[in-house]
């Protein structure tokens, strides 16, 4: 498979894709010295191409610092991309100005990880959830209030919450309020950035169930970002695995979970503690930490921790390619010289 074939395969799905990104790059400058000049840059996202199909949940997994949250936010243009294009409903929104972007934002929303930091403590629940209804001129006054009550009911919060403040709610309830806020404008696309990571286990399950039922009810498309592979597998149709700003593997979630190809994905899966009494297979213990995205290693970024690394891995960066094992609609993309 060559690059051109990949493009072709990607183009085939581009037709029914809701969001598509092409070689997206996001660098953050590191400033230093007396004149605050740029002395180095953090390559948070280093050239990612993806198509998110309408109605699917695309899971995005990786360890902290791999750039998964940055990617999610750059797709929404909460951060401006350094390079690359972003297409939403087949329109290139990369250079949209503030006005046009605001119209697009009605269709794309985000749910944040930390329900304590993401709700303004000085606003009532009505102001938090209804804010976007006013901004987009959808509903005002008593109509807005009625709509907020409806939304709260959808996410399982009692009606009398409308005039209360965030501190009066538990973590799980706050996350529900955050979800109601994202739903308010009836978006098509939601980036869920670690929506359950900071919640207790029993509450995590409640929120996951809620997201699954909302997807069905409102025909939502999700980019579901998380570091917990069990959760991601459970909610996603397809999974993309990220390492140091790059996608290393992407396929149907069952394929990723049961037949991973990339050594990093294999290590990630084998590191998962499984709550079952039966004895498990040998665990792959990776050496060392994730390298710094300021100064990534030569060749394949994973090679210093990889037990399968060969000379070519130290020299040449492996591009994402369609793996020959892919058949039918179940494409399996991987970026590794040795599989």
């Amino acid at each position: 498979m060559t690059d051109a074939d990949v493009r072709q395969a990607e183009a085939a799905v581009a037709g029914d894709s809701l969001v598509r990104i092409d070689n997206l790059v996001k660098h953050f400058p590191i400033k230093g010295g007396v004149f605050s000049r740029e002395v180095a840059k953090v390559q948070a996202v280093g050239g990612v191409s993806l198509a998110i199909r309408s109605g699917e949940t695309l899971g995005l997994v990786g360890e902290s610092g791999c750039g998964k949250s940055t990617l999610g936010r750059t797709i929404l243009r909460l951060w401006e991309p350094t390079e690359g294009r972003i297409y939403f409903q087949n329109q290139d929104i990369t250079d949209y100005g503030a006005d046009r972007m605001r119209r697009v934002r009605r269709e794309m929303q985000i749910i944040f990880q930390d329900p304590y930091a993401s709700l303004n403590p000085r606003m009532t629940v009505e102001q938090i959830v209804g804010g976007s209804l006013s901004v987009h001129g959808i509903a005002r006054g008593s109509r807005r209030r009625g709509r907020v009550v409806e939304l709260l009911e959808t996410v399982g919060i009692r009606e009398d919450a409308v005039d209360r403040y965030p501190y009066e709610f538990s973590g799980g309830q706050r996350q529900r309020i955050g979800i109601a806020r994202a739903l308010a404008v009836l978006p098509k696309f939601i980036v869920a950035d670690e929506p359950v990571s900071s919640l207790d286990v029993s509450i995590q399950a409640q929120i996951i169930n809620l997201l699954i039922s909302l997807q069905e009810q409102f025909h939502l498309t999700f980019l579901f970002i998380a570091h917990d592979l069990r959760v991601v597998e459970h909610v996603s149709d397809r999974i993309a695995v990220m390492y140091l700003g790059k996608i290393v593997e992407l396929s149907e979630s069952k394929t990723i979970y049961f037949s991973p190809l990339h050594p990093y994905t294999q290590a990630l899966l084998s590191a998962l503690p499984i709550p079952e009494a039966t004895q498990r297979k040998e665990r792959i213990i990776l050496k060392g930490d994730v390298p710094s995205p300021i100064n990534p290693p030569s060749g394949c970024y994973f090679h210093p921790r990889c037990w399968k690394a060969t000379d070519v891995c130290r020299e040449r960066f492996p591009e994402v390619r369609l793996h020959p094992s892919s058949k039918g609609g179940a494409e399996h993309y991987v970026a590794c010289h040795n599989v």
Binding site: S64, Q206, S213, L272
Partner: protein, 341 residues
């Protein structure tokens, strides 16, 4: 897997009660908790935030701070009651016989001292060794926990290390005096899975090498499954279920334990994704406003009349498997009557 196996458990906690005295009332954070840990064994403590698992650990170390206080019970370590030791003697126990590692290594290490300094401090306090010996011990410990170039690293400060490295330093510090008992309070919760695997692997191999007993606190049944011999599930300050790890995973009895295990996505080749998980309704109760009767009853799907009236006792339903639930107890009694008839 069995440790030394000398007579009696290494640690025996009976009826531990720790409360926090606040303006709004008394918070029973740990309410009548009893357990034993034998030499070389790992007891896992599972529960969600506010269940009292960390306060249990801090109570054992006598590190509960104001407005909290240990109000009852005893903790027999090697036959001596830790709660009755004078403070100076307790100080000889901490870090020497019993050590603790915490969830957040960044807040548990002192940012203004080098890591070598911090490891040497406890060695110098507990043992009659020279500074040079303490230093070489610190280097050995860092090597033991897998920190490369320890001779150089001992001069570094916590902020120069990654999260996984900091946790290793914490472990090196905790183990520097070769304690018989280690309390690990969510030691891997703040870490990524691949680093978590490294740290759990490390704790496991050090346990075998040093023959320590471990009290392993976590909210993750996955971590428990692979690292603990026995499990104790806590809810709102009370132990609700206790059994061997394999036993509890195969046959959880308490509705709360069942809910916790059911909340974790169970993935098989056949399972179709996007099915609802078995979630527990509601949220963890505020300990100031505990419901009458069973503390879990307003989140429980199986609650019935009796659950409102009284607090169920922790009853051994099968040998080595105890549960605090009226429903299970009635089922057991019904089963016994059935067999007699």
């Amino acid at each position: 897997m069995n440790g030394g196996g000398t007579n009696g458990p290494l640690l025996e906690v009976n009826n531990l009660k720790t409360s926090f005295f606040v303006r709004e009332g008394v918070i029973p954070a740990v309410d009548d908790v009893s357990f034993q840990v034998e030499r070389g064994r790992v007891l896992g403590v599972v529960g969600e935030s506010g269940c009292g698992k960390s306060v249990t650990a801090l109570s054992l170390m006598r590190l509960v701070s104001f407005p909290g206080r240990i109000v009852g019970g005893e903790a027999l370590y090697d036959g001596r009651d830790l709660f009755r030791l004078p403070e100076w003697e307790m100080r000889r126990v901490r870090g020497n016989s019993i050590s603790m590692i915490f969830q957040e290594p960044m807040t548990s290490l002192n940012p203004v001292f080098s890591i070598g300094n911090q490891i040497m401090e406890s060695v110098l306090f507990h043992e009659r060794v020279s500074k040079a010996e303490a230093r070489s011990r610190a280097i050995d410990m860092l090597r033991l926990v897998g920190i490369p170039a320890p001779e150089k690293r001992i001069h570094e400060y916590p902020h120069q290390l990654s999260g996984g490295m900091r946790q290793r330093v914490m472990i090196a510090m905790a183990l520097s005096c070769e304690p018989g008992f280690l309390i690990a309070d969510e030691p891997t919760t703040a870490l990524d899975v691949t680093i978590q695997a490294q740290i759990l692997d490390l704790i496991g191999s050090l346990r075998e090498r040093l023959g320590m007993a471990i009290l392993f606190i976590t909210h993750d049944f996955g971590v428990i499954a692979e690292n603990a011999h026995d499990v104790m599930v806590m809810y709102a300050g009370k132990v609700v279920e206790r059994a061997g790890t394999a036993r509890i995973l195969e046959n959880p009895l308490h509705p709360y334990t069942r809910g916790l295990i059911g909340s974790i996505p169970h993935i098989t080749q056949e399972s179709r994704g996007k099915t609802p998980l078995h979630a527990i309704q509601g949220s963890v109760p505020i300990l100031l406003e505990l419901p009458q009767g069973c503390r879990f009853r307003d989140r429980c799907e199986e609650a019935f009349g009796r659950c409102t009236g009284a607090v169920p006792e922790l009853v051994e339903i099968e040998p080595g498997h105890a549960v605090r639930c009226f429903k299970r107890q009635e089922e057991m009694e019904a089963g016994m009557r059935g067999r007699q008839a």
